[in-house]
């Protein structure tokens, strides 16, 4: 299995997540540094974290719908159904929390780049058919979940303030780790296609 390739495949999204981690890691001295290095990105507040998490889930649901439309591979289809079911449940849970806390998630640069990067990936997916699609989708899902899991564990859970948001993120990340495991298997099988 080629993990590096998977990461390259989600390069756009990866860069966004990783830059988010880097800038939050040195938020205190980011003001001192060159603007081009830090892009003025501050650590995320809870409203932004909620927005990013929801956006990432919604994006994965869009990938999955495309997979159901374009793939004939039973394993890919089953995985896509799992993504739609689980990410929908988690995003509904997030919406319920938003309502309960009476807050409005905040759009932000990372959410916007996620959407933009996602649009490019969807465009690329839509050109692919058969095994080419399955391989690309499987690699993307593996890279995507790997990065999401890492970002939640190493960044969001460390900087989030609200306990209920943290509980939601922890529960969601248990699910994403399971997805990551499924994606590893799917990707290993796709590489043999």
């Amino acid at each position: 299995m080629n993990i590096l390739q998977s990461f390259t495949n989600v390069a756009l999204v990866g860069t966004i997540f990783l830059s988010g981690m880097v800038t939050t890691g040195c938020a205190a001295d980011s003001m001192m540094k060159d603007k081009t290095m830090t892009k003025e990105a501050p650590a995320f507040n809870d409203l932004e974290i909620a927005h990013i998490a929801y956006t990432a889930g919604a994006l994965d649901i869009r990938y999955a719908h495309l997979a159901l439309a374009l793939s004939e591979n039973p394993e890919v289809k089953k995985f896509a159904e799992l993504m739609i079911r689980d990410h929908t449940a988690i995003n509904n849970k997030a919406l319920a929390l938003v309502k309960k806390l009476n807050i409005t998630p905040q759009d932000n640069a990372m959410s916007q780049q996620l959407v933009k990067g996602g649009e490019d990936i969807l465009k690329e997916f839509s050109q692919l058919r058969g095994n080419d699609f399955s391989k690309r989708y499987a690699a993307n899902e593996l890279g995507y979940h790997t990065l999401v899991v890492k970002t939640i564990d190493e960044t969001f859970l460390k900087i989030a303030q609200n306990e209920e948001l943290k509980t939601l993120l922890r529960g969601a990340n248990k699910t994403f780790k399971v997805h990551q495991g499924h994606a590893e298997t799917m990707n290993a099988n796709a590489e043999k296609l």
Binding site: L82, R85, D86, A89, I90, K93, G171, A172, K174, T175, V178, G181, H182
Partner: protein
């Protein structure tokens, strides 16, 4: 209370059907193995955010899709070993061991 039903008689017959609860939590069945007697019921309750779907490995019985806090009840009619899994997350497995040897009656008296 016992006087109304004749407590002695009840105590000497085979044990009454029991209700066993298996929680689905953190992508696992807890407890993963349960021992029951035919006539008992097993209730699975989903405590995860995401839906699960309990199914005997050979498909002989299946739950409905269980969303968070939804439960499903199975009446165990026969003795045997029943391996089950989650259809959505097949790495989740559990076992119902149904024995009609009255192990429970002995252990309780």
């Amino acid at each position: 209370m016992t006087g109304i039903f004749g407590g002695e008689v009840v105590a000497q017959t085979a044990s009454l059907p029991q209700r066993h609860v298996v929680e689905i939590r953190d992508f696992a069945f807890q407890p993963p193995h349960i021992v029951v007697e035919p006539g008992d019921t097993v209730v699975w309750i989903n405590k995860d955010f995401v839906p699960h779907f309990v199914s005997l490995v050979d498909g002989k019985w299946q739950s409905n899709l269980l969303e968070e806090n939804q439960s499903w009840k199975l009446l165990v009619k026969e003795a045997g070993f029943f391996n089950y899994e989650c259809v959505f997350h097949p790495e989740m497995t559990g076992k119902v061991i149904s024995s009609d040897e009255h192990t429970r009656t002995h252990s309780q008296h």
